[in-house]
Amino acid sequence: MWWRKLEEKIVYLLMVISVASLVILLLAVLISIFVKGTPYLSWEMVSQTPKGGYYFGREGGVLNAIVGSLYLSFGAVFLSLIFSLPLSLAMNIHLRARPKIVNRIRFVLDILWGIPSIVYGAFGFTIMIYLGIKASLLAGIITVGLFIMPIMVRGMDEVMKNVPVSLIESAISLGSTRMEVAFKVMVRQTIPGIVTAILLAFGRGIGDVASVLFTTGYTDNVPTSITQQTATLPLAVFFQLGSPIPEVQNRAYASALILTVIILIISIAVRFLSNKYYSNRH
């Protein structure tokens, strides 16, 4: 008997330690990024492009990467949305009566979600060569758009699946076409969930390196057209950290901090939205 109690206590202690370690690990990552990055974060850093080359120049900031990242992620989210919204609507309206097909699509999406981003990068690179486009913002948008598509569809699907069938059926019985049901009933019902899915996909897209490593190129300038090369924040971290010059490394730490802050803002927005969504439903 005493052994059972002791075992229970030991395991309990181990469990508390591992849950606490989650919080500690998160804090450890965030604190090290903040401590290392904050001293170099200045107005100059966010408002100027690097002077004298991103790898060797000691002056300037990372404006090229900030703007490039935003262009890239917005473009990719937009492209992905054109695919994702119709697909998730179809899965939950047009194909609702055929769960076997829907489940098969979900399965494929899960597989797509599991494919590493470096494979998407290699695939994007082959498409790029095949279509004859050079490394550019456009090529990056296509690759990242494909890469975040499964995340977006699964996110939307997750909320649309919960819309009661009776709501759809009553709209159809009143004479709506399926398209009207899709956009006037389904989308309106699930808009916080859709926005959440878009935000999650955006966060994934803005933080990924491996998929844009070969497809966007890298430049010191802010891109002015979709066919130009572009820098992104994660690439700025990755490339500039490898430089032997301390000032350049500092730019990498500042970029890491900016990227982390963007991700934190997205997390907070997602949390806020999903709380709102669930409090509306109950």
């Binding site: 059972r4 109690k5 229970e8 395991v11 309990y12 181990l14 469990m15 591992s18 849950v19 370690s21 989650l22 690990l25 990552v29 990024i33 290392k36 695919f83 119709p86 697909l87 609507l89 179809a90 047009h94 194909l95 699509i105 399965f107 899960d110 597989i111 797509l112 494919i115 590493p116 470096i118 494979v119 998407y120 990068g121 290699a122 695939f123 082959t126 494909l146 569809v153 076409t177 399926r178 398209m179 009207e180 999650l200 966060g203 933080g207 990924d208 390196v209 491996a210 490593l213 994660p234 971290v237 990755f238 950290l241 990498a252 991700i263 934190l264 997205i266 997390s267 997602v270 949390r271």
Partner: protein, 301 residues
């Protein structure tokens, strides 16, 4: 009449949208095949040049001499993945049990954002953290403590960083799996006088064993393809590592580091595409097996 044309345009719109939707469905279902096929097509050259067993098991890597042995990269990938999973497994299992069976709802509500943020942090940030914290820790403390000499940029550092990145991913799946275990089973065991931990050990863990294995299978496929964070701390030296404190060179890092430079040599290009194909095959196979198991378990409950 007005009503009639209105009806016609509505009908037409609906048909157009349906067509678009059908096209999307086809595209998505075909996408994994398209990716696999295009990678296979690109790696055709290297497959004709050397035999598969030579590619997989030879450790001679001299691209300029036309020798492509992937063994050092495969073994590095396996080691990094293995360490990552070994370190992440106890933390995830214990936390998932605690959050599902012991913790209050408030705790779960507090922990959910923590897990989500851990999941949302980009891999390059984990890489920076690895360089700042893990690499020096391994080089200065862990390796000397165990009697090895190491710069810190090593398989061990890659595994540790990877394990932290895997935690939110595996933990979320485990929590889902524990939720599918019936509550009456749990209650029945408690009412027979078993302690909570005994119940978990003998009922819950046994019931969800296949699910737990699948969760780690998914974790494995995630770990195998992780690129940037591992690349930044693992050292990237070609060679079969003799111990875990030596640098390694996993497959994704090989692709990421050599891209762009290889375009002038078609065989090298093809070799890297073969690496991507290999990566994809391993990841997809583990994914399919694990997901099938989880779907099967969920359908039983």
């Amino acid at each position: 009449m007005a009503l009639c044309t209105n009806y016609k345009t509505r009908k037409l719109k609906d048909q157009l949208v349906s067509l678009w939707i059908r096209f999307m469905v086809l595209l998505v279902v075909a996408l994994p095949l398209i990716i696999a096929f295009s990678l296979f097509y690109k790696s055709w050259l290297i497959l004709g040049h050397s035999s598969l067993s030579e590619l997989l098991f030879s450790s001679v890597w001299r691209p300029l001499a036309g020798k492509f042995g992937f063994f050092p990269f495969i073994i590095s990938s396996v080691w990094v993945t293995f360490i990552g999973l070994m370190l992440t497994a106890p933390i995830c299992l214990l936390s998932a049990i605690f959050l599902t069976y012991y913790g209050s709802r408030h705790l779960l509500r507090f922990m959910q954002p923590v897990i989500d943020i851990l999941a949302g942090i980009p891999s390059v940030i984990y890489g920076v953290w690895g360089i700042l914290v893990i690499v020096p820790a391994v080089g200065k403390y862990l390796a000397p403590m165990l009697g090895y000499e190491s710069s810190g940029f090593s398989i061990m550092a890659g595994g540790i960083v990877l394990s932290v990145m895997l935690i939110p991913f595996v933990l979320n799946i485990l929590i889902e799996i524990f939720r599918t275990v019936h509550h009456d089973l749990f209650d029945a065991s408690l009412s027979l006088g078993a302690t909570k931990w005994q119940t978990i050990k003998h009922v819950v863990l046994r019931k969800s064993f296949a699910g737990i294995v699948s969760a780690f299978g998914l974790g494995l496929s995630r770990a195998f393809g992780e690129t940037i964070a591992v690349l930044m701390v693992v050292g990237n030296v070609v060679g079969v590592p003799e111990n875990l404190f030596q640098p390694g060179y996993p497959l994704p890092a090989l692709i990421a580091n050599n891209y762009g430079e290889m375009l002038s040599i078609p065989m090298f290009d093809s070799a890297l595409m073969f690496a991507a194909l290999l990566l994809m095959v391993v990841v997809v196979v583990f994914n399919i097996i694990s997901r099938r198991t989880i779907i099967y378990l969920e359908s039983k409950h």
